[in-house]
Amino acid sequence: MINTQAVPAPETPSGRRLPGDLAIWFFILAEMLAFAVFFAAYAFARAKNVEMFNTYQHTLDRNLGALNTFLLITGSWFVVLAVQAAHKDNRPAIARNLLLGWLCGGGFLVVKVIEYAAKFGAGISMSTNTFYMFYISLTFFHFMHVILGMVILTILWVQARKGVYGSHDAHGLESGAAYWHMVDLLWIVLFPLVYVMR
């Protein structure tokens, strides 16, 4: 992410503080709005084709979906630990936890590719039917966000190794972490919606 934190985050009088950069939060909100519209579109499109959606939802691999939920939540948890380590000035722990978080993201991508390979191998595409259109669109759009999140984590890791972050400045780290948690948050809604709810 681009560094926009020339000014430290303003402390509000009540002592309440927004972690990270204001700009990243606007960005997160916009992304979440896009997903909200997509989720609602899925739900309402399903209302018109309940049987079709229920039939094809059965073909999805719930085990891999749940495994991916574990990976993202754990990845998010490691990144929280990295931020906490920064506030305690535990420098080696920042980079280590970021790396572990990144590996969880990598695991997510591998699982997702295995899942895609099975589906695409069976000749399924976005034009097969509306359910698969949504399944592929939503998960792929989210997939791209995982990749972007991992790019951000990579930058944070490099910076952390240089010793940029600590209790004096965790601004950039918090901004990147917030984005990574958003990727997690979106999957927490996406997984039950597309894989389980019927």
Binding site: T12, G15, R16, R17, L18, P19, W25, L29, M32, L33, A36, F39, A40, A43, F44, R46, A47, V50, N54, R62, N63, G65, A66, T69, F70, I73, T74, S76, W77, V79, V80, L81, V83, Q84, E174, A177, A178, H181, M182, D184, L185, I188, V189, F191, P192, L193, Y195, V196, M197, R198
Partner: protein, 88 residues
């Protein structure tokens, strides 16, 4: 139990358990109004933990908490509405 003082650890454990519950509901083929509401509630609790303990918005200016939690409520309500329409 020293570990549980860290809200992030607590959140992680609850998130893991909640995920297993959702997965289990899928395995037993739960369907219909009750299971939909249950799954949406679980998703809401999970999302809220991510927002408050992972994104660390618990101590953030109130507007940001409202915006993100509001997003969760909005999305869950829209999904619930659409599923309710499909049942009638």
């Amino acid at each position: 139990m020293e570990l549980l003082k860290n809200p992030a650890h607590r959140a992680w454990i609850i998130l893991m358990i909640a995920t297993v519950v959702t997965w289990y509901l899928g395995e037993v083929g739960a369907a219909g109004t009750t299971s939909i509401i249950a799954m949406l509630l679980i998703a809401f609790v999970k999302g809220r933990l991510v927002i408050l303990d992972f994104m660390e918005l618990r101590e953030a200016p109130r507007m940001w908490r409202i915006l993100l939690e509001g997003w969760l409520i909005l999305v869950s309500s829209l999904i619930l509405l659409a599923y309710w329409i499909s049942l009638t």
